[in-house]
């Protein structure tokens, strides 16, 4: 993508940081927003985390060396920011059921939730997954990222990701068939 190459070149040369950042954010904000939203559920949290993500992107732009693609780099920051939010909220607990339950409660109380029953149940099925399976399922199913890209984001091996996705898919199917 020509624009992406231009952005990476600008980052490397360190020129016109604000303009480069605006290009970058306009290019990826929607995609990253929905990635965050799928993980944190709440609209307000997603908006905060999106801003925090891009603030980090701005202040760390000069550290981007181009070893990975720029969007997987932003996805990594966004995913880490979601993790930080979970830690702040103490969503990550010793039992994944607790974190899932909190996210499911958030889905039930979220005022901006709309859609047919099937779509809502599908979301419930995903939110019921353990955290790692939930992440790989979202990145693979919705964002259609390759295992290689997901590996860059999560730092897990491709074989682990394939296994996690396989189990996630199986559990989602079971959930949907049992409702």
């Amino acid at each position: 993508m020509a624009k992406e190459e231009e952005i990476v070149a600008n980052i490397r040369d360190g020129k016109d940081k604000d303009k480069t950042f605006t290009l970058l954010m306009n290019m990826y904000k929607e995609r990253i927003y929905w990635h965050i939203r799928r993980l944190v559920v709440s609209k307000e949290d997603a908006e905060d985390v999106l801003q925090e993500t891009f603030v980090k992107v701005y202040f760390n732009m000069d550290k981007f060396k181009g070893h990975s693609s720029i969007y997987t780099w932003i996805y990594t920051i966004a995913t880490n920011e979601c993790g930080q939010l979970f830690r702040k909220r103490k969503i990550i607990t010793s039992s994944y059921d607790d974190s899932s339950q909190i996210l499911l409660d958030s889905l039930a109380s979220e005022p901006s939730v709309s859609g047919d029953e099937l779509t809502i149940n599908f979301q419930k099925a995903i939110l019921s997954l353990p955290e790692k399976q939930r992440l790989v399922f979202n990145l693979r199913y919705y964002d259609e990222l390759s295992y290689h890209e997901i590996s860059e984001i999560t730092g897990q091996s491709e074989s682990t990701l394939k296994t996690n996705y396989h189990y996630a898919e199986k559990k989602v199917k079971e959930f949907m068939l049992n409702i």
Binding site: D18, F21, T22, M25, N26, K29, E30, Y33, W34, R37, R38, K43, A46, E47, L50, Q51, F54, V55, Y58, F59, L107, E110, S112, V113, S114, G115, D116, L118, T119, I120, F122, Q123, Y141, Y142, K173, M176, L177
Partner: protein, 111 residues
């Protein structure tokens, strides 16, 4: 929409999410983030300035105290070698620490 028990089809669900469109927020997200970045930059500049001022005060106080306690030594008329040779071990340690620290970085004073 029904789901066949033996053959669950993800295609029937597609990529839809049960959330309303966020075009309103996304339309202003870049500006909001840039505003946040600018206010953070301002805060960082203020903090940097304040810490430089604090460092300068500590240096001046340090030298004043040093000067007062070292009788008959005029700091303007002696070389740095003389200064160092007249220092006690603990003062020399303090001096080396200050030189090594950011307090003496020229950049910090060019705000």
């Amino acid at each position: 929409m029904s789901i066949n028990n033996n053959n669950f089809d993800f295609g029937k669900i597609g990529k839809n999410l049960p959330y309303q469109s966020e075009s309103e927020f996304l339309g202003v997200a870049t500006d909001l983030t840039l505003n946040k970045i600018n206010s953070m930059k301002k805060r960082r500049r203020i903090w940097k300035f304040a810490s430089s001022v604090a460092a300068s005060i500590i240096i001046v106080l340090g030298f004043t105290l040093f000067n007062n306690s070292s009788n008959n030594v005029d700091i303007n008329n002696i070389s740095i070698d003389d200064l160092i040779s007249n220092m006690s071990d603990s003062r020399l340690e303090e001096f080396v620490y200050m030189v090594d620290s950011d307090a003496f970085l020229v950049d910090d004073f060019n705000l």
